[in-house]
Subunit: 348 residues, 4 copies
């Protein structure tokens, strides 16, 4: 029997050895709990360096927590969050943003390739500021990379942020795959965030090789005044915070985060190129980061399944394959060989 190769998500992967070593190292000694430890303090410094600006950063255990706490910091209960119709915050978090904001609305905007444009943002923004009968738009949430595996350039983020600000909205970036988006472009973390107008970032580490490490990064620390209360009250203040902060420390050291994301992206590229060469395969979106969305002929998707290749079924004949931080080129080559075999068999 052939080995199973699971490319359904980057969440099915484990963790990088450097991250595991950091957790083990962090275990020795006594340190203050609840984030009073040195590793957590150093994280503030390190992220301030990475983003070339003094930031306020708050580790949390999940991306849903990061997004919801970030959005709630800018959105009153009678407010609204504007996001893409496919955004994770809109369709994959069981209403977490509504829970953390105490019932704000999500306004859904359209856009090709999973990307909003200033035009679709403007179209979705109602003309009812101050109308007491209507929820008040408060923040724009961008996914970077998007749910379609595409990325926004700094210029695109800047144009969206400008459109948002023109309506009085703040800007959030859901960066559960931020590093994948970053390394696919020749820009700095600063250029992709606050320099382009982002107020708050969900900075994800889990999908890219950490065990459990997400952080909410405020580019204006003054906006974070209430955050510590919100986080504690939601059960997201970790008593042994050192174990998350240590993950981030290793993640951001020696360009580990960048190297892991580059690998994931390269594997997605490799896979996309190989699949596209096959008859009947249609790539749905540009492969800007580490996700590949394709239409597969039924014989091929069925054949791959039989051959032990696991992808995520999106809908109809659409499938998602994801490159992970530790997927190697040989594995992707094996997948492509299996795919070619399926095609050959079918054709025969």
């Amino acid at each position: 029997m052939t080995d199973v190769i699971n490319l359904a998500s980057d969440n099915v992967a484990g963790a990088a050895p450097e991250i595991l070593a950091a957790i083990a190292s962090a275990a020795s000694g006594r340190v203050p709990s609840y984030g009073g430890d040195d590793a957590t303090r150093r994280l503030q410094e390190r992220l301030s360096e990475v983003f070339e600006r003094r930031v306020a950063a708050f580790p949390v255990p999940t991306g849903t927590a990061a997004n919801s706490l970030a959005l709630a910091s800018f959105t009153p209960p009678w407010g609204a969050v504007l996001c893409h119709r496919e955004a994770h915050v809109a369709v994959d978090e069981c209403g977490a943003p509504e829970f953390f904001t105490h019932g704000a609305k999500l306004l859904l905007a359209d856009g090709a390739n999973g990307k909003l444009t200033p035009g679709t943002v403007a179209a979705a923004l109602p003309d009812w500021r101050g109308d007491v009968h209507r929820s008040q738009p408060a923040i724009l949430s961008l996914s970077q990379a998007t749910e379609s595996g595409t990325v926004y350039s700094p210029a695109e983020v800047g144009a969206l942020a400008e459109a948002a600000r023109g309506h009085g909205l703040a800007v959030h970036m859901d960066g559960s795959r931020f590093t994948n988006a970053l390394v696919s472009q020749g820009c700095s973390p600063a250029e992709l965030t606050w320099k382009a107008g982002v107020d708050v970032l969900s900075f994800g580490g889990t999908k890219n090789g950490c065990v459990m490490a997400e952080a909410v990064v405020f580019f204006d620390p003054d906006k974070a005044a209430d955050f510590a209360f919100r986080r504690k009250r939601a059960g997201h203040l970790l008593s042994k915070m050192r174990f998350v902060s240590a993950q981030f420390e290793a993640y951001l050291a020696d360009d580990l985060w960048l190297r892991l994301a580059r690998n994931a992206n390269a594997r997605a590229r490799q896979l996309a190129d190989g699949l596209q060469a096959l008859p009947g395969v249609e790539l749905l979106y540009p492969v800007d980061a580490n996700e590949v969305f394709v239409r597969l002929p039924a014989a091929l998707s069925e054949g791959l399944r039989r051959e032990g290749v696991v992808a995520a079924h999106w809908e109809g004949d659409i499938w998602r394959f994801v490159g992970a931080f530790d997927t190697d080129a040989a594995t992707i080559e094996t997948v492509l060989q299996r795919a070619r075999r399926c095609v050959a068999t079918t054709a025969g």
Copy 2:
């Protein structure tokens, strides 16, 4: 300079080697995310064995999350949670139970040594069931061990549960130090929980040697129907759940959990005995588990501080010392030597 010895909390300790090894082992291979993995499935089996009954168990990252999600499962927004005036859920969670229950009330009851009694429970329970002007008591929350480091016997839990049921209340046990309470008594996990009338348990691993591992355990799985939605919606469904489930697997294997808790308790006992022998030291509560609350003469507390012994300042002249899973006897002996030296110096 003498070494610093930090006994302020069991949260300042790291993690047991077995737990770290389990995390490292869990990192290899591809497994389904969000709890669809085998380790999480096995955890259900293992906890069902431990508690001698089919349970529904849900790993979460923090004790505050475990408590709040458990309470919210039994308490409508117009409900009330009855607990000790000093309970963690009442005074240490920044209103998390209120957040998760959407605004239920906490009714505070009294009791010596941090312990409720059927009498104080009855006294705190208003006679207003069905009165639409009043929040409706829905659940009794017991801390085991209590915030004073004492424990409830199975008989005591049973009597409290009976009092609660007489008023239509369910019973929750906040077991962030459940294992410490368990090993201090000659009873089984079942006897200390569902056999005594407990409906839902916050089963803590973090304080007792895990990195981050808590679980909500329902003794009647039918009561858990909504739990998965509540957990996801609160951002407490971990994408790489395997890393928490693996901790529990190691924790519950080969009696590790029991051994770690026994050590912590023994160290607290050792410390209490030694301190009590000193003039002017007053033990506040029975040392049933791993916490020691003492009044210290100012010269002694100040002397210990100078000697590098860190305790948690409770209030006035009251201090808390906590034995951890990995505190060794020699460390406690060193603390006692320093204490005796302080006393001798002062006396001289």
Copy 3:
């Protein structure tokens, strides 16, 4: 100067003399507060007669309260309400349903003339029941009459309710203009509600001649077990409830409610017929109840404004005129005369 004639809404009208008399009568004598009075008890009986079934009815002061409390009775915080994209609950209540449900989502469905169809309901209902990442659809909310002034027939309600039930949803009817919808069809209140599958009705009196009188009507009283707590907790339990119940008593006596609604509908019909005869005027939707939505040539809308005729500006060249319970035929004739004069002037 000509008299101002305000047809912008039925909310701009006052109250019927019978309603005012009922309030005045209710003022004498001592009666239990908070709904313990006889008038409130009689209301249960009267509505049970009206709907030919034992109902549980709860007076509240506003339609937004009625809708939100009704929806919250069937929708958990992780649930979703399916409604028309234009529904009052979606766009005119500042997120009240989200507040009362503690953060449920509103799923917006399409449909011509403000009306949902089984097809648009099915299209909007996601295939994710039980998926913990998604809000769970819990109830369908129909506006009767709709926001476009159209009405659902009993058969249409029945088909929608059947589609809803097929997905496990309950059915709510926002009846702020229920009586207007009722009298426009030859059916009974029962046929338009529970016989067609409606579980809970927001039964409005305010727009149709009351001072302030709305009621939530449960067709299965067992579903109303928590309602009294929800209402009190939201500040909607009136201390002098008698004054609302008395309004309903008068409203439902001697067919007053039906007569008032028939008048409002007839005036809308009269106006629609007259306007339609004018060049350039386009009726947007069937005039099934008491609302008329029309496109008006700019010269005509401007002329009417100058002539003191007040309509509600909807958007672009679309205007709404509403017949009220006490609008008389002569007033509408005056409006039409002014409109004809505007047209004549412009043409000239």
Copy 4:
């Protein structure tokens, strides 16, 4: 059979003729809905005159709504409201403050005669500002008159407000019986509120002769920026607001409010004096406003019940009698005659 005389509450009374007339008058003509009418505009002016300062006033239908909306305007979800253990907001609103604040805590303080003192306020205020594990005290809520029928003098309010401000708290006054408290003292509305440090007042009219008329009054209109959204979202923005504003207009005209409250207070005084003269009757608190709390010998309470005198049973042998705006002296004299008759019979 003797006539029933119900003195259980001021809520069991109807409404003053002037108020009923105002409602009837308000019914004629077309006016903008949702508070855009002239009567609502005039109310701002009138209350600004009454309080000698520009205020922002918001009519709402119930006292619970007024209190909860006022508290929520100053208290974040992680905040706490400090109030008397017996306060209406704590024990009579089914958790409405928790609902509107999204889960803030109520901290309960003690005090004789239902009154807080700077000392009991300080004792109840924890020393944990900024501690992320604790709810943060945000506002002090005073009941005026109190739940025991006593009143705070301007000096007492001032001292409490000063104590509150020293801990960073705002000050709310629950004035469901504000006018009763006002007329019992020789001071102005301003002296009893903002001049003494009150930020926001729940100004009640319903208990004192209105049908349904409460208002939230902000003494600093800048603090009211979000109020309109909160009110609408809670279903407390009335479409035919004119009918509440008109009640207030009549209530505040020609000293009606003061006259009605003076009558209610005088009747309570008359009753207290008469009852106190009877053997075995003990007055529990000073009768500062319109409520009388007394211990009654069982024979007397039973006798009064038989004689058709209805009081509210508080607990044990404690009963409450309330004078209403329209209770006349002869009625009280009749009650006293019946009481004396009971005593004579019993003695005999």
